[in-house]
């Protein structure tokens, strides 16, 4: 089966929780997690809804492989209309929370309405109730987990929660689970906060027993684990260096966005790289990195656990930050570092800890700081307005701005808007580096052309996790393509987007795709899930999910105009590196992509496309 066949519907307005059977017809068409929850979402929610209105819903969903021994089978996703973007949002998280939700017997939780006062949801298998969260409101994510574990008298309970960012309406708040794993992007935590929902605490003892053919499944899972172990990236690169393995590689390619994308190479990249995390610090003779760590079921273990330098200015007299904790991952190190020209590894880790502690997305935050620094550099924002000097490269400013965001004081209010709204407020909307109000991640699309198209057409706004053509254009996975040309990228982007939709709907981590193709996932799904799960069926499921998300966005008011990059990337050529002299060729790729997708020139799926996909 794979699915528990049960969903939990929580009406926050009326304070009720009820169990419903899972729509198995939809499960056959949309698999689980991202796809299946989005299907529920688009069926139940008006695309024009205000993301922060009670009428918006929020779904937490597992996939059929969540909670199984499939490698990385511990993922869950949060599906809603994003606060930051106003587009369909789907943010995926690892850690242990997703598996625990499955073990408690639930495929997904649909939250609707808005609670009159702060509450949290407590789940112990079938025993489900909304509880008062007055004592948790105002608390950080870390405090919330600790308080809930203590009051439940159960150290094995798993918690996801929002911190003060989500409570205070920071537009890019995350939902953090297991202290430092997050459903990070698009402001899903902001939506949770708008519903007065502080946390979900789960304890499951039922297990994920409903596997169609356990013996065949174990064999398929073991074969796929071997593929991960034998692969250079998933077997060595990621466990040893984490995603940070990319910092120097991408910098050398001239694709490391630096100082709000003014530059494409960062002179201090090495100082904030994986290699630097392994080196002994002069101050205390210890390395930043303590160990690597895995999410539930993961045989890759890309996660980083580090200890900050206790003598660093950011944490002097703050012992609460001295213990081992999560970070730095590549995206956070880039956004907090290169994006604003800061080369101080410890300052980045401090800002990263604050992101985890109070639940906000380090990518959008770092990029918003970068935009603020550019506004400061141009004299549009002054020292008085910001409250301190904020030149590119200032670690002091980075640290102070992170603290301001959480206190909500002074310039913190502007930072809470994200770069698109903040730059618009100061009359320079073009300085926000993103798409659909969501900031770019750590790849400059002048040096990796396909990523420009992937960003522009991503259904949740700029994102590397919807179609990671970096794999092909940089690492040669599954085949090497030239990062500096636009030819062939329309097909490439579509292929990555569709395949990723399947991985995100299965319950596994997208990082498996450094080694796995759909052909490695298919036997696991086929052994676990009712029905025949052929390659053809999965390919169709992926494309169906992509088009379903697109239809929602179109109905929400997005048009082809929104599938575009900021002018900087189209008119200011890369200054250095292999891409020197290049801009991104999005205007050439976009029409090709629409054609490959079977959409009209306005980016609307044609009748034939929809009927082929059964939409």
């Amino acid at each position: 089966m794979g699915w528990t066949r049960k969903i939990l519907r929580v009406d926050l307005s009326n304070g009720t929780c009820k169990s419903e059977p899972l729509n198995m017809e939809w499960a056959q068409q949309y698999l689980g997690q991202r796809g299946l929850a989005t299907k529920y979402f688009v069926e139940e929610v008006d695309p024009k809804v205000d993301p922060l209105a009670p009428a918006n819903k929020m779904i937490m969903a597992t996939g059929p492989l969540t909670g199984t021994p499939a490698s990385t089978g511990g993922r869950y996703s949060v599906i809603t209309k994003g606060a930051l973007t106003g587009a369909i949002a789907c943010s995926n998280s690892g850690g242990y929370f997703g598996a625990e939700l499955k073990f408690a017997g639930w495929d997904m939780i649909i939250f609707e309405g808005k609670s009159a006062k702060p509450v949290y949801l407590s789940i112990e298998d079938d025993k489900v109730e909304l509880r008062d969260a007055a004592h948790l409101w105002g608390k950080t994510v870390w405090q919330t987990e600790e308080i809930i574990k203590k009051s439940h008298q159960d150290p094995q309970v798993r918690v996801c929660s929002i911190g003060r960012a989500g409570e205070n309406g920071v537009m890019y708040a995350c939902i953090v689970n297991d202290l430092h794993r997050a459903a990070g992007r698009s402001g899903v935590g902001t939506v949770m906060g708008s519903k007065n929902l502080k946390a979900v605490a789960v304890r499951g003892t039922k297990g994920a027993g409903a596997i169609k053919n356990p013996k065949a499944f174990m064999l398929a899972a073991a074969a796929a684990k071997k593929v991960l172990a034998d692969n250079a990236v998933t077997g060595q690169g990621l466990p040893t260096y984490g995603t940070q393995v990319l910092m120097n590689v991408i910098n050398e390619m001239g694709a490391l966005p630096t100082r709000n994308h003014r530059d494409v190479q960062f002179e201090d990249a090495r100082k904030i790289s994986a290699e630097a995390m392994h080196e002994k610090r002069p101050t205390d003779g210890k390395a930043h990195l303590v160990t690597n760590a895995a999410c539930f079921g993961c045989t890759i273990a890309c996660g980083r656990i580090s200890k900050i330098d206790e003598t660093h200015f950011s944490v002097v007299n703050k012992p609460q930050y001295w213990g081992a904790s999560g970070g730095l991952e590549y995206e956070a190190a880039w956004a907090l570092g290169a994006a604003n020209g800061v080369g101080d590894l410890e300052a980045l880790q401090y800002a990263n800890l604050i992101c985890n502690e109070d639940g906000f997305d380090p990518i959008t935050f770092g990029a918003t700081v970068a935009a603020a620094m550019e506004l400061y550099d141009l004299g549009i924002l002054t020292k008085e307005q910001i409250g301190l000097e904020a030149p590119f490269g200032s670690a002091q400013a980075l640290v102070a701005l992170a603290e301001m965001l959480i206190s909500g004081e002074g310039f913190g209010k502007d930072l809470a808007l994200g770069s698109a709204r903040m730059c618009a407020k100061y009359g320079r909307p073009e300085l926000s580096m993103g798409v659909k109000k969501q900031e770019f991640p750590a790849y400059d699309s002048r040096g990796i052309q396909g990523m420009g198209l992937a960003y522009a057409t991503s259904n949740r706004g700029a994102c590397h996790l919807r179609g990671y053509t970096v794999a092909s254009e940089v690492l040669g996975i599954p085949v090497k393509t030239d990062p500096l040309v636009t030819e062939g990228k329309a097909d490439l982007v579509k292929a990555f987007q569709d395949a990723t939709s399947v991985f995100d709907s299965a319950g596994v981590c997208v990082f498996t795709t450094f080694a796995w193709t759909l052909a490695d996932l298919q036997p696991q799904l086929d052994a676990a899930c009712d029905g025949d799960w052929t390659m053809e069926k999965l390919a169709l499921v992926g494309e169906r999910i992509w088009n379903m998300e697109r239809l929602f966005n179109n109905a929400a008011g997005f048009t082809a105009k929104d599938d575009d990059l900021p002018p900087r990337l189209k008119t200011e050529p890369a200054k250095t590196g292999p891409a020197k002299g290049l801009v991104n060729g999005i205007d050439k790729m976009r029409p090709e992509y629409y054609k490959v997708r079977g959409w009209n020139p306005e980016g609307v799926p044609s009748k034939e496309t929809l009927s082929r996909l059964g939409l």
């Binding site: 499951g204 027993g209 079921g297 273990a301 996660g303």
Partner: protein, 159 residues
């Protein structure tokens, strides 16, 4: 040759594949709540430590059992709970200094690691080598080898 489980916490990533394998091997389900091995995450230290029964030679649990339900398996040396004899009195869970034998409410009996009849599922499932099944008399061999490699040898007199 008798073998025993050997655990190296430094290698553990906290993936819980061992717990899933244990529950599947012994109960045919994927459910860490039924695992006999537990991985503890000391978050603030960045340490993950897998822990299960070490099969003490003079097992306290076995000695304490009033109905002789825990017996030594001659082939593996494991102390095995015979469910048909166990009356669920839980005296063994009090006697065991390490907490590695536990009551199971579903069955009304206790459970502990039985070395899977000599083919430990947890060791097979562990992707990092944090759990191995080694010669019981030489459980420290790998550690010795590591330290041996660090030992300075005297400069040799050249002939």
């Amino acid at each position: 040759m008798q073998k025993s489980l050997h655990i190296d916490p430094n290698k553990c990533t906290g993936c819980l594949q061992c717990e899933m394998a244990c529950s599947f091997e012994n109960y045919g389900v994927f459910n860490i709540a039924k695992s006999r091995i537990k991985v503890f995450n000391f978050e603030h230290e960045g340490r993950m430590v897998p822990y299960t029964c070490t099969q003490c030679a003079e097992a306290w649990c076995m000695t304490a059992c009033p109905v002789d339900a825990i017996r030594i398996d001659a082939a593996t040396g494991a102390k095995i709970v015979h469910e048909d004899v166990c009356v669920g009195c839980k005296v063994c869970t009090i006697a065991c200094p390490f907490g590695t034998i536990n009551y199971v409410a579903d069955s009304g009996k206790v459970q502990k690691c039985d070395l899977c009849g000599g083919d430990p599922a947890c060791a097979t499932a562990c992707p990092t080598g944090a759990i191995t099944y080694v010669d019981a008399d030489w459980a420290g061999l790998e550690k010795m080898r590591l330290w041996a490699g660090k030992t300075d040898t005297q400069p040799r007199a050249s002939a």
